[in-house]
């Protein structure tokens, strides 16, 4: 029997192309403070602190340690870090809460991609023997996947449709970076950035941060009128080598969705699909029907803070459960090239069945 754990608060910074004056801690601190304040749990009462970030963005080893300046780690706190998106930090925090000796956790993530050339930095996550030496940038790698997906019987109009819907949804999200009302036919007239991807098929480069607070059982019920209970969570990884998997589908998402208990009762889905063609791949793998509201926040096509965009999906989904807009939501996060790793989390506002 798993211990009941819920997301009880969420905060995020506005995503911007470049934070010209603030460093990572200066971006992160107000976000962490807001998430803790909204949780109703005292800062010193938080049982566990967990972060997700990437030293390659700052270009310095152990750059993540400075993130703790935003938290106040004295007297010493229990904390840990993953060199992964904050959604995986949330997973570790969820596991930590299963131990039963503590009842709450702060999870934060931050990324300042403007310090380097992000498409090139992301080459460093590729297989170091056969692929990385060719130095294929992240957009070109995604374009390979888009081509495989188109060859499987899809169209560029579908991709433009995802982009148009995401940008329109983002108009209601004050934290989003790219927003606007575009006709699909207008988007289709745009030139290719890297064929078959046009500019709108790609995510913006973003600086920012996000944080959630998790609470278990009675504490969650006490501090939150309607906690977003984590009813299932799972993550799966596919082969590192791009050539040995079918890039037009997502087997790992399908498996994670099965294990997490994604079912026909989902109202809202926040999917971490940085490139437009990835959203229909994920939709299919998750088995989401047409009635599901996908990426009402605008998704990663509208704001894509590296290392925080996955945790932001969890937060956006949870917020809709907490405020009653959604009954049951699914949050998805991805990592690695072409949806290599996928995490799926089911959040529900109702009492456990």
């Amino acid at each position: 029997m798993m211990r009941e754990v819920a997301v009880v608060s969420f905060a995020q910074s506005a995503s911007v192309r470049a934070e010209d004056t603030r460093n990572e801690v200066e971006i992160l601190m107000p976000v962490v403070h807001e998430a803790i304040e909204r949780s109703g749990i005292g800062r010193k009462e938080i049982g566990f602190t967990m972060s997700g970030s990437c030293d390659y963005l700052a270009g310095a080893p152990f750059a993540f340690v400075s993130g703790l300046d935003a938290v106040g780690a004295w007297p010493p706190i229990r904390e840990s870090h993953v060199e992964m998106d904050g959604a995986w930090a949330m997973y570790e925090a969820w596991v930590r809460l299963q131990h039963g000796d503590i009842d709450s956790a702060l999870v934060y993530a931050f990324g300042k991609s403007s310090l380097g050339d992000l498409p090139d930095v992301l080459v460093l996550q590729l297989d170091p023997y056969y692929v990385a030496p060719l130095w294929p940038d992240a957009v070109s790698i995604a374009a390979l996947q888009a081509r495989a997906w188109l060859d499987a019987g899809h169209t560029e109009e579908e991709m433009a449709g995802v982009a148009a819907r995401s940008r329109k949804a983002a108009m209601a999200n004050p934290m989003a970076q790219v927003k606007g009302d575009h006709a699909v036919s207008d988007l289709m007239r745009e030139p290719y950035l890297v064929s078959p991807l046009r500019r709108h098929d790609c995510p913006p480069i973003s600086d920012g941060a996000a944080a959630v607070v998790l609470a278990a059982g009675d504490l969650a019920r006490r501090v939150c009128e309607r906690p977003a209970w984590i009813r299932g969570i799972d993550h799966r990884i596919e082969a590192h080598s791009l050539g040995v998997r079918d890039l037009a589908t997502s087997a790992s998402t399908r498996l994670a969705a099965e294990r997490a208990g994604v079912d026909g009762a989902i109202d809202v889905a926040e999917l971490h699909a940085p490139f437009s063609h990835q959203e229909p791949i994920l939709r299919e793998a998750l088995g989401l029907g047409d009635g599901v509201d996908v990426n009402p926040s605008g998704g990663a096509l509208s704001a894509n803070v590296m290392m925080a965009a996955g945790l932001t999906r969890v937060g956006e989904a949870a917020e809709r459960v907490i405020d009653g807009r959604a009954g049951r939501a699914v949050a998805h996060a991805t990592s690695g090239p072409c949806l290599q790793q996928n995490l799926v989390c089911v959040l529900d506002g109702g009492v456990a069945a």
């Binding site: 004056t21 460093n23 200066e26 601190m29 800062r43 300046d69 935003a70 938290v71 106040g72």
Partner: protein, 144 residues
């Protein structure tokens, strides 16, 4: 991109001023400031101008030559607790034999010519002994 707090510090150095920041919670003064008190987890927005003088809390005599070395060995790299600060600053101690540098030694900053000052700690060439009596150990024991 050093951030807002470090940018203010570096602009101060360019003008010959050493600027720290005080934590509103524990009142400790950080220099160079990073915009946050790591102990309290709050923003440090109160600016404090520090003087040029401080105390050597610990030091290291460098005897090993390495590629790109600009200073003649042996030389001394030290942690200097500026008067009024609550954290040590790393810098060089010169104008004294390496064998004479010791904990508690009172030192002062030697700035480069004002026309050459840039937003970098290299605008302080080094620290040198002031000749004052040593600071008592209790005055810096918390910072060793």
């Amino acid at each position: 991109m050093p951030g807002r707090a470090a940018s203010r510090f570096l602009r101060g150095i360019e003008q010959g001023k050493i600027l720290g920041q005080r934590c509103p919670s524990c009142r400790k003064v950080y220099v160079p400031p990073r915009g946050a008190c790591a102990a309290c987890g709050v923003a440090t927005d109160e600016e404090v101008q520090l003087g040029d003088k401080g105390t050597v809390t610990t030091f290291c005599v460098v005897n090993v030559p390495f590629y790109g070395q600009k200073i003649e060995i042996p030389y001394v790299s030290a942690t200097i607790l500026l008067d009024g600060a609550d954290i040590g600053l790393m810098h060089l101690i010169q104008e004294v034999a390496a064998t004479d540098v010791h904990m508690g030694m009172r030192v002062e900053a030697v700035w480069c010519d004002p026309a050459d000052r840039k937003p970098t700690l290299e605008s302080i060439l080094h620290f040198r002994p002031t000749g004052e009596p040593d600071a008592p150990f209790d005055s810096y024991r918390e910072y060793v």
